[in-house]
């Protein structure tokens, strides 16, 4: 029984090795933390709805390694983002930069909000005019009274 447990343990340890290697790498924890924070803002190009931090794609692993090396070489986050956008374009950034081609993306919702508020304001004013009380004329009042009386009678 003891042997059996041991065998199972050994199997688990060796089987899990490739995954464990990355998780408990002997990299500088400060760099790892910086790398994680940076790659969480980046898109993996292979599986586009994953961040570079989470992706298990080969390319993502290579890119994390590159980022790690560049951080060790003393590059700033900004320089590393520049390195990546130069190669893969702004698409790698989950937060796109504000520039001429992205004005609509950044300011479009606010323009819609202002336009929508304008339309709503005009509509409400128009409606108020429509539902303004107009007093009944004497003839209308008499007809209404007649109708009511017939209804009861």
């Amino acid at each position: 029984m003891k042997h059996f447990v041991l065998i199972i343990l050994v199997l688990f340890c060796t089987g899990g090795a490739p995954v464990a290697k990355e998780a408990q790498s002997n990299e500088d924890p400060k760099i790892e933390q910086r790398m994680k924070a940076l790659t969480e803002q980046l898109r993996c190009l292979v599986c586009q709805n994953e961040t570079l931090a989470d992706s298990r794609a080969d390319l993502a692993e290579d890119l994390r390694q590159q980022i790690r090396e560049q951080m060790k070489a003393g590059k700033s986050d900004q320089e590393i983002l520049g390195f990546l956008t130069q190669r893969y374009g702004d698409f790698v950034l989950y937060k796109p930069p504000v520039k001429a081609t992205t004005y609509l993306l950044w300011f479009g919702p606010f323009i819609l909000l202002v336009a929508g508020t304008g339309v709503l304001y005009r509509y409400l004013r128009h409606r108020r005019e429509l539902i303004q009380d107009k007093p009944l004329t004497a003839a209308e009042r008499k007809r209404a009274a007649d109708l009511l009386r017939n209804e009861i009678g």
Binding site: L45, L59, R87, G89
Partner: protein
Amino acid sequence: MNKLLLLPLVLFIGLVAFLLVGLRHDPHEIPSPLINKPAPAFQLKQLQDPNKTFSAQEMRGKVWLLNFWGTWCVACREEHPLLIQYAKTNAVPIYGVDYKDERATAMQMLDDEGNPYTLTASDPEGRLSIDYGVYGAPETFLIDRDGVIRYKQIGPITEEAWQKEILPRVKQLSQ
């Protein structure tokens, strides 16, 4: 008032039009920021003869294709016979970058299935591929005489892409 009632319909049709256009875009085709920029310089070992190197610099004055491939990549294997066919026409030389691959497997594949490449360079760690912004092999770059990237094909060069995208550009750039 009646006109106002039509407004939601008009907006709806506009929205549908936008979505239809969106459906026709392949989300995997991301425009490369490298188009019309100088091709990143490199010097790599040759696959067939690791004692020799190959660098982009040597290609100055020529219009050429740089194709990133690997034996592990299914789409590259699909593209392979097409590349052989294109290479036979001598329209434009095709250079290969064998990317994240075992040298022996790659040589074996070229022996077994034919070799469309004028020359193949090895990029075992995928460093050059990162410099070229490769994210889905095969990818092919068309580079002009001044060493500027003019076009990038993401995924296999289909017959259609060859006829409509590559050949006309090669002709224009070779003039």
